[in-house]
Amino acid sequence: MATESADVLVIGSGAAGAALTKRLTDLGAKVMCLEQGGWIKPSDYPSSRPDWEVQLHRGAFNFSPNVRKRWEDYPVKETGTHPPAVLMFNAVGGSTHHWATHFPRFHPSDFRVRTLDGVAEDWPIRYQDLERYYDLNDREMGVAGLAGDPANPPRAKRPTPPLPIGKLGETIGRGFNKLGWYWWVSDNAIISSDYRNRPACELHGKCMFGCPIGAKASTDVTYWRNAIRGGAVVKPWSRVREITVDKTGRARGVIYYDRQGTLHEQLARVVVVSCNGIGTPRLLLNSKSSLFPNGLANTSGLVGKHFMLHPFRFLEGVFKEPLDGHEGPFAIPAMSQQFYETDVSRGFARGYTFLLERSFGPLHHAWGSFSNNPVPWGPDHHRVMRQRFPHLIRVTVMGEDLPEESNRVEIDPDLKDSSGIPAPRVVYGYGENSLKMLEHGGRMARQALEAAGAIEILDSGVIQPAFHLLGTARMGRDPKKSVVDARHRTHDVKNLYIVDGSSFVTSAAVNPTSTIGALALRAADGIWESRREL
């Protein structure tokens, strides 16, 4: 049975859906959001339990939906020449429950990669179009950091001062200084002092397993609190099966299951899809009709194509002195963009960021930490364990992934979720450019760790791709080469918008969440400005 129509119906309550809902609610729209997961109680987070690290291998808070297998999760088949380990979380707040909170911005050049470097496609918007939304998103989420990084455009004073970087940050920072390389204390969406009724970070260090005090910006404690106060409605345990269209080809609303398996229809004037770079193309491809036999908004055939994941490589330096990398916020203490902008003499296009990072606890060290070098078993075990814990500094190479049409999300012919909705399959392989970049990054990271005084360096090599789901319904001016326009409106359906990592044209070499939030705020303004024609 159809219910009363919403002005705007948002599907997905993560970084994008939350920001867009709050902004539109502030502007005066009646917004409803459907979320397939539930609210997470702070007491449910494993971060207060002694077995918190076990969640890295199994448990209801594991990062992978294929391991967690909660009702609200859907399975993802992982295939290709480099099958990814897909990470996401389904709850009010989405994957912001799990994320590490790094909050860098794109560079101006990231929006002009075709013009400047002859690769991929330019975005139809520029850094300047997004700048004020980056600022607004920083204030809404609550950010700790320091303005003044010469490797980035100037930005306003950060809402709260930088988080402590500890012995680890100081040690690797001195290494970068010795080499004369650019580096800077990172922006993170964790507040270092009390801010807008949220308490300051207490430095526990288990941010990726949930922050029960709310110092970390998961959108359930940032955007959602205020959006709901303003009148927005979020309906948890609502799993959307398909977006429906009327006979003129306008989006009519959605059909969704509740937790008991009952089907409902929700009507809306505008539908916004914010289900992440895999969930969004899955929903569009599952929304077939006589008007859209290949899936909704897919006239270009590009829904699900150009799937991007950031190429990563982890190098861990072992230092003589204890560095206590497990203490302090797990967020990124500092970063270096010494090799961010293109330099053709390096043999690859675009570039990468070094993330200077902390560790989890003793168990993760024994298992091999991020470089995947387990502490040996047998007589040498205790000696090596004491050498590594707590003596590691991690330098992560995070590269830009170039969009390739063969990397894609599609519907698997057999796999289904617990409601019987067809589930996705991802097909992914690293491109040659990414592999060259990771090789260069590995060598440079080694130099940095040696300059900082590392006595041994553990190297993951090229890892299984995993992080950041991007590019599968990309933005552009040409309807043949893109799925949405510069305002996130689909080229095919006038009142359907796609707002999340899917709309990225390129990945840049930074964590995407601050850009996802900024894009969502800008998209909300676009919807509001177009409301009379929708």
């Binding site: 560079h107 980035n152 800077w184 003793p362």
Partner: protein, 165 residues
Amino acid sequence: MKWTRRKFLEASAAGPLLAPLTAELVTTIEAAPRSLLNEDERSALRTAMDEIIPAGDGMPSATEAGGIEYLERVMRQEPEVAENTRALLAELKVHRTLGEFEAKAAPEFARLRDFVYEAYYTQPEIWKLLGYHNYPTDHAGPHMPPFDETILSEVRRKPKFYREA
């Protein structure tokens, strides 16, 4: 120091942080629920666990730290783990030494090794011996000095380093 399970449990009981876990462990031993493993399996497991993490360098061995009790507790709580453990025990029997197990069935051996590590490094008493403070999120966190900007003074003096577009 020679570590025994008794000493380990006594030391564990002394720490307030450890109380819930220790109480559970003691209960497990005192109530003596029917073991999920037969005597042969326990014996094989005991030998393997203590070869993977032997006592030494002031640290107890895997079984002195309650490894078998931990494993059985998790097997009871998680059927998938119980099934995996039984498969690993069957595989363990096939090989004459752990070195041979590792050489001939590396992924299965890694699962066994990782589970032994889990049984060991989730024990608060082991943390204490390592000097690790867990700082659970319902307690106070560590003290860290605030960020000192002077470490960035050299970078601050550098020219702009991004491309305008």
